[in-house]
């Protein structure tokens, strides 16, 4: 059977990995190529790069990082952040990324999903969703609403409806980020993850809230996620990927154990 994937996420700003809480107070934590190699050798199943470079003019710096990563690691990796056009997608994919993820650009212009899927195949289009719990209403029947700008702007879109629409438009995977859980280290948003993952046919990567290995177990079992995104719990050496995988294996979660 398929293994559940453990995916470190690197936020990259002007060519350096950074970590900030909710997009603020960013601190340089290393070279993204070196970090990618370290996680590749430690058994990461995939890597997500999120380009948080503010200026669109500096996109070439990220493309250069992508090219170097592609020469260094031989597992899939995706790139998101600042992808606004089909050309942006093409640049990232040609530089060697396996997948490209779109988030706010898809909210503003859903056709970028279908155009991207037609041009490059669904398997490389990831729909990134930032979601907040708002309570059920007529407009938001699932109780979860799509937000953008790091959670500052509510879009009046139901998260479940958007996930299903994204799938219909040709997204090959969903990266589901709970803005409420993000940065808390208290665990993933299990109800949201289960809600989305059980209703779509495409794989779902859970994001936001990972602080301990038990959080991964819960989201990969109860939450029905296909993969779990991790960041600070490994970036600062609190846990290592082999340690997390050993724990998950002991807990009966199928993971990739040799590499």
């Amino acid at each position: 059977m398929l293994s559940k994937r453990i995916i470190p996420c690197l936020d990259v700003r002007e060519g350096r990995t950074t970590k900030g809480i909710k997009f603020e107070n960013n601190v340089d934590i290393g070279d993204p190529v070196e970090m990618a190699l370290m996680y590749y050798e430690a058994g990461a199943d995939e890597i997500v790069f999120y380009d948080i470079t503010a200026s669109h003019e500096k996109r070439d710096i990220m493309i250069d990082v992508v090219r170097k990563v592609a020469e260094t690691i031989f597992i899939p990796f995706s790139v998101g952040g600042g992808i606004r056009t089909i050309e942006d997608m093409r640049d990232v994919l040609l530089a060697g990324a396996e997948k490209v993820s779109v988030n706010s650009a898809a909210v503003r212009n859903p056709e970028i999903i279908s155009h991207g899927a037609a041009a490059f195949g669904s398997q490389c289009i990831v729909l990134g969703m930032d979601v907040k719990h708002v309570g059920k209403s007529e407009k938001i029947p699932s109780g979860y609403e799509i937000v953008i700008n790091g959670g500052r702007k509510y879009m009046g879109m139901d998260a479940l409806a958007w996930a299903l629409k994204g799938q219909a438009l040709g997204a090959g995977e969903i990266c589901l980020n709970s803005i409420d859980a993000d940065g808390t280290k208290d665990g993933y948003e299990l109800i949201l993850t289960e809600l989305i993952s059980s209703r779509v046919d495409i794989p779902v990567i859970a994001s936001g809230g990972a602080g301990q290995p038990v959080h991964l177990r819960d989201v990969l079992t109860q939450g029905k996620a296909d993969a779990a995104l991790i960041a600070s719990m490994v970036h600062y050496g609190t846990y290592t990927i082999p340690k997390i995988k050993t724990y998950l294996d002991d807990q009966g979660v199928k993971i990739r154990s040799t590499w």
């Binding site: 031989f74 040799t258 590499w259």
Partner: protein, 209 residues
Amino acid sequence: MIAIIDYDAGNLTSVSRALFHINVENVITNDIKLIESAERIIFPGVGAAGSAMKSLIRLGLDDAIRQAVESGKPVLGICLGTQIILQESRENQAKCLGIIDGSVRAFSEIFQSKGIKGLKIPHMGWNRIALKADHPVFAGLKENDEFYFVHGYYPLPDNLSQVIATTDYVIEFPSIIGMNNIVATQFHPEKSGNPGLTILKNFSSWEPC
């Protein structure tokens, strides 16, 4: 020199980069002469079978691939390249190269016919393989090694002795097929870490008898 066949089917640079990483000379090309003169051929690809076949025919590469196979030089198919070696695909009902007898089946159809529910399609991520027989291209792998897959369809040769390995996704499907001088993987060795690089290394020195 290995020729990686370029037929506008997705990102071929990852295969090339993986080969360079293990010091194997290679070129991405749709030049028929270069393909003829290459010692080995890799036939990769992502995308849909129908449009891939159209590109192959337009570029005259369908015959180039058949000739490479007939010439006896080692040929490695990857993902869509593996599926296209068969006769036809359920994906767009595309007629394929017909180098190996058999067809390409859809997970969605087999799951429906068997009443299997709740599985994600595409089959995306890491999974194991069970080798049915020893093969020099797949030597040196560890029992629990996993490989990176991303596909909604799978190859099914008529002659099951051409199945080199299978993989379990509730159903057991062929994940490596081959005969004589051809081997073809449904997974991506170029994206499968060290076990994948081992396969590429083995292929680059494989002398089929």
